[in-house]
């Protein structure tokens, strides 16, 4: 089992803030817009360092998305920042028409995604955002797993021409990918195995590694793949792995409908049908609670991945 070291737990949103701060210094075309959540999005440093390139739009997300689309005319690379719920569902038509259909180089950066937003409850815990965004033609969808990956992704998307949805979150989670190369659209093979493939994204990636270690102790060899780019999906990496293991578990902090799991199922059904188990929210809204309580109640942790892996293996012919 390949070992990964947590170099110090951090929140993924701080990775976004750090990446944006670096971009501010290295790319003068990067501009940032925020809808009254500068502190929550960790955009303080960019605002302080580049006040002329920072745009506080107030609690007006539709206007923020439209402005971002317009700012690309003349060569700017706008990064919008607000919670995932207000970055997607609230502004879906603005993103659809002014950004995606218009092919504008806008980076929609969304924090507080999923259940791990915690106590604020279901109004703010969007579990449908990946589905909403991946259905838009031309949209790149990225869900990062730790501080280092979020920072790397933030920097990488500035160099990628086209609309991007970058999803991250609020909780403090292990930081372990600093040494791994981040390439948009390229899966990361975290652990090689032969009995089952675990494909994980976002906050479930560390849980997948914990699960793989526990499975190994029971004599089950799990391959762990981190999919940070849900669209375009690294079909090749998934097919290569499942071709070897013969079954798969997908793990994500998202509704089972519209998430990574469905994308993986599409690739497999078209090319190499195989038993698949889903670790995801079973078509429901969230609720108030601590992130840990919620992830346990809704079955989004290493224990759930272990159970799903065993079930997937049992379904192999």
């Amino acid at each position: 089992m390949t070992k990964y070291t947590n170099t110090g737990s951090k929140d993924t949103r701080s990775g976004f803030g750090a990446g944006l701060t670096e971009l501010g210094q290295t790319n003068e075309n990067v501009v940032a817009l925020c809808a009254d959540l500068i502190g929550s999005l960790k955009m303080d440093d960019f605002k302080k360092n580049h006040p002329e390139r920072f745009f506080q739009v107030g609690i007006a997300e539709a206007n923020m998305i439209g402005m971002a689309a317009g700012m690309t005319l003349g060569g700017k690379i706008p990064f919008t920042g607000t919670f995932a719920n207000f970055s997607t569902g609230r502004v879906y038509d603005q993103i659809r028409q002014s950004v995606a259909y218009s092919d504008k180089n806008v980076k929609i950066c969304a924090s507080h995604a999923g259940l791990t937003l915690g106590e604020d409850g279901a109004t703010h815990q969007i579990l449908e955002d990946v589905g909403l965004m991946k259905m838009l033609p031309g949209m790149t969808v990225i869900n990062t797993c730790d501080y280092a990956q979020t920072k790397a992704a933030t920097i990488a998307i500035a160099e990628h021409h086209g609309p991007v949805y970058l999803r991250f979150g609020r909780p403090v989670v292990p930081n372990f990918t600093a040494e791994l190369e981040f390439v948009i659209g390229k899966a990361i093979l975290l652990n090689e195995g032969t009995d089952v493939t675990i494909v994980a994204t976002g906050h479930l990636v560390w849980e997948a590694l914990v699960a793989a270690e526990a499975l190994e102790a029971k004599g089950i060899s799990a391959e762990v793949i981190n999919i940070h780019t849900i669209k375009p999906l690294d079909d090749e990496a998934i097919l290569k792995s499942v071709g070897k293991t013969g079954c798969v578990v997908t793990a994500e902090e998202h509704n089972i409908l519209g998430g990574l799991g469905e994308s993986v199922a599409r690739v497999l059904s078209l090319n190499h049908p195989a038993p698949q188990e889903y670790v995801a929210v079973n078509d429901s809204f969230g609720e108030s609670g601590t992130p840990e309580q919620l992830m346990e109640k809704y079955g989004l942790n290493s224990a759930a991945i272990i159970a799903a892996a065993k079930k997937a293996i049992s379904r192999k012919k």
Binding site: G66, M67, G70, M71, Q94, Y101, S102
Partner: protein, 282 residues
Amino acid sequence: MKPNTQQLNDLATQVRRDILRMVHAVNSGHPGGSLGCTEFMVALYQAIMDRKEGFDMDGLNEDIFILSNGHISPVFYSVLARSGYFPVSELATFRLLNSRLQGHPTTHEGLPGVRIASGSLGQGMSVALGAAQTKKLNGDNHLVYTLHGDGELQEGQNWEAIMYASAYKVDNLIATIDVNGKQIDGPTDEVLPMGSLSAKFIAFGWDVVEIQLGNNIDAIIAGMLDAKAKTGQGRPVAVLLHTEMGNGVDYMMHTHAWHGKAPNDDQLAKALEQNTITLGDY
């Protein structure tokens, strides 16, 4: 040299012919608002905007235009074609399969002159604000012009943008509202009365220019020059352009019936008889 009033009126007549023939050919599209804004669009592109030759998406060092009420695409396409952005003959492809002239304007098919998709209403003001802010960042002193329907102002996003524009002194923006008092379901005053648009814009911190004769080329040019003179003074500028929907075709005027309906063969012939000056139909 800029064209004189007669030349602009002749061009406007030709644009009306284009609009009527385009919507007739595919038995769909929006002639009413297109005809109502014909003189404005002709004046804007031929006498007001400072435009470069050719087209690039960034629009650096030139005035740019954002059409927010995208359903009046016929007038937009005709004026773009007759201003040299693409061949006039391409107007014959309006709303056809594999055309760059989609039902509503889009950048998706690469039509020169279009910088944003519009059709779902209420989004153009925000896009224009962003473009205007980028012009300031780029040290580009040119202006951003927009056009919106009056009914379109019922969309809430406009008021987010209108609030932002004055708060952050976006004074390189001239937003024109086509005040024809009509929308699909009837008069705006019956569908959702909006009260005084002038008072609303002023209350939101904008300068307001009223063009009462919104189908008169000279009045439009005078009003737009007035609006232009108000830019750069810390406030965004709204132009309330009072127009007649369906202008230039008697049976299409004074009614909302032709908002989104095409004329039949006989109706087209009658409409063209009222607009005989041609610079060469497509």
